[in-house]
């Protein structure tokens, strides 16, 4: 079978000693990032990009991907042991995970999270391998109209992920698209929105923007309140779940994986949404639903499986279409471009070793994570004792060095500062940054495809509805917009995100 041939090639690449090494470094860093609250995968990948300069493309992508899905594992550790989600996708794990820890069952909870994640990671890896290839063949037949409509779907569905009001999320998308257009116009060479700064002719650095909003902005929010006292960390006695625990984990792991895989592929979906949906479904369908909120192992397994599956399958649109489904994938695209690879359906043809090597490395990385997370749990717990007054200046220094080296300019570091301050105030005004960031990345692509589509159709807008795939995609976008704006759905979204913040 072709698939095995491809996976064989992939594992051949991923098992090269150096690639194994970078995969390990990636998941190790990912775990650290996941454990440390207030440091997300996006900011970390952005500030560690210079570490990948000397590497070849396969190595760097394997490492960056490892940071992303590794952070999903690490985030569950703090969620369970200290009731703090180290990473937003683990927020829902705190509900039952911490309750289990309080009952002295921290070990089985950690095992449930790790094993559920590993199961999900395995299934999702196979899924990515199965789906990505056929999808690239479809994508190769896409014209500018289809790409335009696809990106509209992506932008609209990113609203579903944003908390708060629909109008603000839409406005943030428009604002992001506009800011993304900064730089030289590709068709005419005219400089746009550069405010006389020649550094802006190449556009605003995405890495700087991401570090500003997610790195500096997050630090400012953490410095708002009182510096918390050292967290109370639950003790871990025995790691091993009982046979009964294992039996109760199977069905939720399968359901969580299915939900996560599905939602991860959707643009705007990904890990966070998956874990909430999986938890709510489990709560409704489980025969132990009375135990939920009081330490049900199902309530740990399902969302952890879902967020890991979602993290993994969110690579599909990026690899197959060259379109980011979430902000971390947007950064991965940036990393690929820096390595001289144009992301999109051609990658699988022209660089099969990157494509399949990355997929195979995800499975290997997941296996490493189980080993890293379970026996070494004590090490991660001690990381939680690092006080914040050491952490945040270090994050700032790393960010400055990272951003400065990526673009080799002081200007990018000023961008960090400005983006951080503006981003912080927008978040204070309940404007979520994710739609803005996605808009920023897609802005130039969206405009390019729009202009090309108009050239093809002779300036006739109906091209978007007369081409079947494009029309179908636009219908999906309208449907998503309609569903999200329904009052009862809006209320539900509100509840989900309020739950996350509490």
């Amino acid at each position: 079978m072709e698939l095995f041939e491809h996976l064989g090639l992939g594992f051949g690449v991923a098992f090269l000693p150096l690639n194994l090494f970078y995969c390990f470094i990636g998941v190790l860093l990912g775990t650290v990032v996941g454990v440390l609250p207030g440091l997300g995968p996006l900011a970390t990948i952005a500030m560690l990009l210079p570490l990948t300069f000397g590497l070849d493309p396969v190595q760097s992508l394997i490492m960056l991907a490892g940071i992303y899905y590794g952070s999903q594992y690490g985030g569950s550790t703090t969620a369970i042991l200290v009731n703090l989600p180290g990473e937003s996708a683990s927020a829902v794990t705190t509900i039952d995970g911490y309750q289990m820890a309080l009952k002295g069952r921290a070990g089985p909870a950690l095992a449930a999270a790790a094993l559920g994640s590993f199961f999900a990671g395995t299934v999702a890896t196979v899924l990515v391998a199965l789906v990505a290839r056929p999808l690239t063949s479809i994508a190769l037949s896409f014209g500018p109209a289809e790409y335009f409509s696809l990106m509209v779907v992506g932008l609209i569905s990113s609203i579903a992920l944003a908390s708060g009001s629909l109008l603000k999320a839409l406005a943030m998308i428009c604002f992001g698209l506009l800011v993304g257009l900064t730089g030289t116009d590709i068709y005419t060479g005219a400089p746009r929105f550069t405010f006389g700064q020649f550094e802006l002719l190449d556009g605003i650095s995405f890495v700087a923007l991401a570090v500003g909003i997610y790195g500096i902005g997050e630090i400012l929010r953490n410095l708002e309140g009182k510096e918390g006292s050292a967290p109370v960390i639950a003790k871990v006695k025995s790691l091993w779940p009982s046979v009964d625990d294992l039996k109760r984990m199977i069905a939720p792991a399968v359901r969580g994986t299915a939900i996560g895989s599905l939602l991860g592929v959707l643009p705007g979906g990904g890990a966070l949404l998956s874990s909430f949906v999986a938890y709510n479904l489990e709560k409704k369908t489980s025969k132990n639903s009375a135990e939920f909120g009081k330490g049900a192992i199902e309530g740990v397994t399902a969302p952890e499986a879902a967020n890991n599956a979602g993290a993994q399958t969110s690579f599909v649109p990026m690899l197959a279409l060259g379109i980011p489904s979430n902000v971390v994938m947007a950064l991965m695209i940036g990393a690929m471009i820096m390595q001289g690879i144009q992301p999109g359906p051609n990658v699988v043809v022209s660089n099969p070793e990157i494509f399949w090597g990355l997929i195979a490395s995800m499975w290997i990385g997941n296996a490493m994570l189980v080993v890293l997370n379970l026996p070494l749990i004590g090490l991660w717990v001690s990381l939680l004792r690092v006080p914040y007054w050491i952490m945040f200046p270090a994050i700032i220094a790393f960010s400055c060095i990272g951003v400065y080296s990526v673009s080799n300019s002081a200007f990018a570091v000023y961008t960090v500062t400005i983006a951080g301050v503006i981003g912080y105030f927008l978040i204070k005004l309940d404007c979520e940054p994710a739609p803005f960031v996605l808009g920023f990345v897609l802005g130039p692509m969206l405009e390019e495809h729009l202009r090309r589509a108009m050239l093809i159709s002779g300036g006739d807008l109906s091209i978007f509805v007369t081409r079947p795939i494009s029309a179908a995609l636009l219908i999906v976008a309208v449907a998503v917009l309609f569903v999200v704006s329904r009052p009862n759905i809006a209320k539900r979204r509100q509840e989900v995100f309020v739950e996350e913040e509490s």
Partner: protein
């Protein structure tokens, strides 16, 4: 009577941004036609949308029921952290990795609450050494370890 000042502020911000970008596009960039879009076409469409959305958000601020508190702004932290990154950007090439990271970390540390000067100095020094080892020697970033500013001495 405005019943949600946060919504009003956000809406006004979007209107301002829309007018700024739209104004630049309108007055300074060729617009072209739908067939051959100039560099100003798409930005004007987006700016128009942004102004409309901003206006809708402001309008809603008058009818919106509850207001969530804006919360405190850590002005001192905001100032010090901006200063730290600005100092890094402006002087890293002259100072070099060790002094640059030391100064940046030290300024940023002052944004914390309970500051002890000795702790700040030690932590910043360690951070400077660590970054130099990782970024200058292991990753070989082209930032000098000790910058030209010190070479005259």
């Amino acid at each position: 009577m405005i019943s949600d000042r946060k919504d009003a502020a956000a809406g006004l911000f979007f209107i301002a941004a829309g007018l700024l970008y739209g104004g630049i596009a309108w007055f300074m960039l060729p617009i072209g036609s739908a067939l051959r879009m100039g560099p100003g076409y798409f930005p004007i469409v987006l700016s128009g949308l942004l102004v409309l959305l901003g206006a809708a958000i402001v309008a809603r601020a008058f009818v919106h029921a509850q207001e969530m508190p804006f919360g405190a702004v850590p002005w001192r932290a905001l100032g010090l952290i901006s200063l730290a990154t600005t100092v890094f950007a402006a002087f890293i090439e002259d100072l070099g990795m060790i002094p640059g990271v030391f100064v940046t970390t030290a300024i940023a540390s002052l944004a914390g609450r309970k500051i002890r000067l000795s702790r700040v100095l030690v932590a910043s020094a360690l951070m400077a050494v660590f970054c130099t080892l990782v970024f200058s020697y292991a990753v070989r970033l082209p930032i000098p370890v000790i910058g030209p500013f010190f070479s005259g001495w």
